[in-house]
């Protein structure tokens, strides 16, 4: 019992731990909410693209010593716009254009970063996160941007739902579908930027997609999904952080694995859509059929 208390309370004496916990919690929360729209729109690939696209911005900001969050946001939005413009060329499908640009952005980021001294170390912290090295200023940025994002989701939710549900009808009644798309891209970009420090560039997609996907398995109601996804996101992030403390292993990786664990549990045991439930249901259907056949025979 004491060991559990020690494990739970132990790390609290460290400032860096409290900051890490706060950032993990906030990232999980915000990514869960924004990620719900990502999952429902089937735009996980775009999320991945944006995650890569913010990289050169962050690298530039790092080299210049300016704010990483702003640098990442600018690069992400610029890339999103480039993709939107180039994808107007009908010969190329959007996914090819996205593939080209996010790889290019990533390449650019590595080149910029290699100009800075201590290249290897900073590259690693960008790619895989450095949640234990977060400053007070970072925590404030994450909190402020996170609050803005939650507010924006609240304001735009109904219109985003209408546009995702049926673009044709949304356009027909005059909803600004293009601007809603753009707003969602910007929101995804910002959610990714504030979560980068927790899990890093490579893994940030998990924070955006996994909790929302797990929540989708648990419910057929949007409102419930938008509550469950942030709870799963925040819970999984905090769990991962504790595991990292307990076993002294990489925090970013454990956060992602915790989220994945929750997803697998949902996939297996979800009340209506889980694997077990579906198997049992199809068994009972075949039993029913068998029973009916027997009755017919007799």
């Amino acid at each position: 019992m004491n060991a559990v208390v020690d494990l739970l309370a132990g790390p609290w004496e460290y400032d860096f731990w409290r900051r890490a916990l706060l950032v993990a919690l906030l990232s999980g929360l915000v990514c869960g909410v924004v990620g719900t729209h990502v999952v429902l729109r089937g735009m996980a690939f775009i999320g991945d693209a944006v995650a890569h696209a913010v990289f050169p911005g962050i690298a530039t900001a790092f080299v210049l010593g300016s704010n990483l969050v702003i640098g990442g946001a600018v690069a992400g939005v610029v890339t999103a716009l480039l993709i939107a413009v180039v994808a107007q060329n009908r010969r190329l499908k959007e996914d090819s254009v996205i593939g080209i640009f996010f790889a290019a952005a990533f390449g650019l980021g590595i080149v910029i970063l290699s100009a800075a001294p201590g290249y290897g170390g900073s590259l690693e912290s960008f790619l895989f996160g450095s949640i234990l090295g977060i400053s007070d200023g970072d925590v404030v940025s994450v909190a402020v941007i996170g609050a803005i994002l939650l507010l924006a989701t609240g304001v735009l939710n109904g219109r985003l739902v209408a546009a995702t549900l049926d673009r044709e009808q949304a356009r027909a009644v005059g909803l600004p579908v293009f601007w809603l798309d753009l707003a969602l891209y910007v929101m995804v970009t910002l959610a990714i930027v504030i979560s980068l420090q927790a899990v890093g560039n490579v893994l940030v997609l998990a924070l955006l997609v996994t909790p929302a996907a797990a929540a989708r398995l648990l419910t057929d109601r949007l409102g419930v999904m938008m509550l469950l996804a942030p709870v799963i996101g925040a819970g999984g992030s905090v769990l991962g952080l504790y595991l990292s403390y307990a076993f002294d292993l990489a925090a970013g990786g454990l956060i992602v694995l915790s989220l994945t664990g929750i997803f697998v549990l949902c996939w297996l045991f979800a009340p209506r859509h889980g694997l077990l439930r579906r198997t049992r249901r199809s068994q009972s259907t075949s039993d029913g059929l068998h029973g009916a056949l027997v009755e017919v025979k007799s």
Binding site: A172, V173, G174, D220, L222
Partner: protein, 250 residues
């Protein structure tokens, strides 16, 4: 009172540099139920989309309630083809119907008493009261069509455009939809629907508009007995088949 609700004059529309519609004239007055008939690729959906302000005309004018199609956006009821809708979205029937009024709500999406009344009435009209809380993913094809119609009716439109509402639905829904469209017509709503179901269109519609890139014929079903019109709209093979189904022989 009898001002046209939809007034299309000399319309030409290009899609991807190719002329899809030319010299189209079509006028709908309150209380008219018009069937838009034509082969695949005749430009039926394009005509609806132009009337909704989704495609700019190259030539000619589209007036809805005396305004341009773009200005009238948000007041016209539209039932697109069923595949436009994301049926895997986690949303209930009632909420899906309510999205038809999303553009009228304030920024936080607060719904007024008027919103709720309109949505409830629309759900009742399509006979979906007992399925209000059902996720849309669990609905049959006919029930899905009802949801789309209810979503359009939630706007309480004076002009209703439907794209292939009778395709792939069960008999009860077909019956309900026919009755509903007739009711709406009697209430003074102008209804324009594209359809492949010629037999249904002939009994249901007060007017048929035969379209193939342009309006080939426009009139009461009985006045369109001239086989030549059908030949020009559909071509020889298809026209013979259609005419047989209508009991008209050449």
């Amino acid at each position: 009172m009898n001002e046209p609700v939809l007034d299309i004059v000399g319309l030409a529309v290009d899609l991807g540099g190719r002329e899809v519609l030319s010299e189209v004239d079509l006028r709908l007055r309150p209380g008219e139920l018009v069937g838009l008939i034509g082969p695949n690729g005749a430009g039926k959906t394009t005509l609806l989309r132009t009337a909704l302000g989704l495609i700019p005309p190259r030539r000619g004018t589209v007036a809805v309630h005396g305004r341009t199609a773009k200005q009238a956006q948000g007041s016209v009821g539209y039932v697109p083809q069923r595949h436009e809708f994301a049926w895997d979205f986690p949303i209930s029937v009632a909420k899906a119907v309510a999205t038809g009024r999303t553009h009228l709500t304030g920024l936080l999406g607060r719904r007024t008493e008027q919103d709720r009344t309109a949505v409830d009435a629309a759900i009742t009209r399509v006979g979906m009261d007992d399925l209000r809380t059902r996720p849309v993913g669990e609905l049959s094809g006919g029930q899905r069509q009802r949801v789309l119609v209810a979503r359009a009716l939630a706007l309480q439109p004076r002009l209703l455009l439907l794209d292939e509402p009778f395709t792939g639905i069960d008999a009860p829904t077909q019956e309900l939809l026919s009755g509903l469209l007739t009711e709406l017509r009697d209430e003074g709503v102008a209804v324009l629907m594209t359809t492949h179901d010629l037999a249904a269109a002939t009994t249901l519609c007060s007017r048929l508009c035969l379209l193939n890139r342009t309006v080939v014929a426009d009139g009461e079903p009985a006045a369109l007995a001239d086989t030549d019109i059908w030949l020009r709209t559909f071509g020889l093979d298809r026209a013979e088949q259609l005419l047989r189904s209508l009991g008209v022989s050449r």
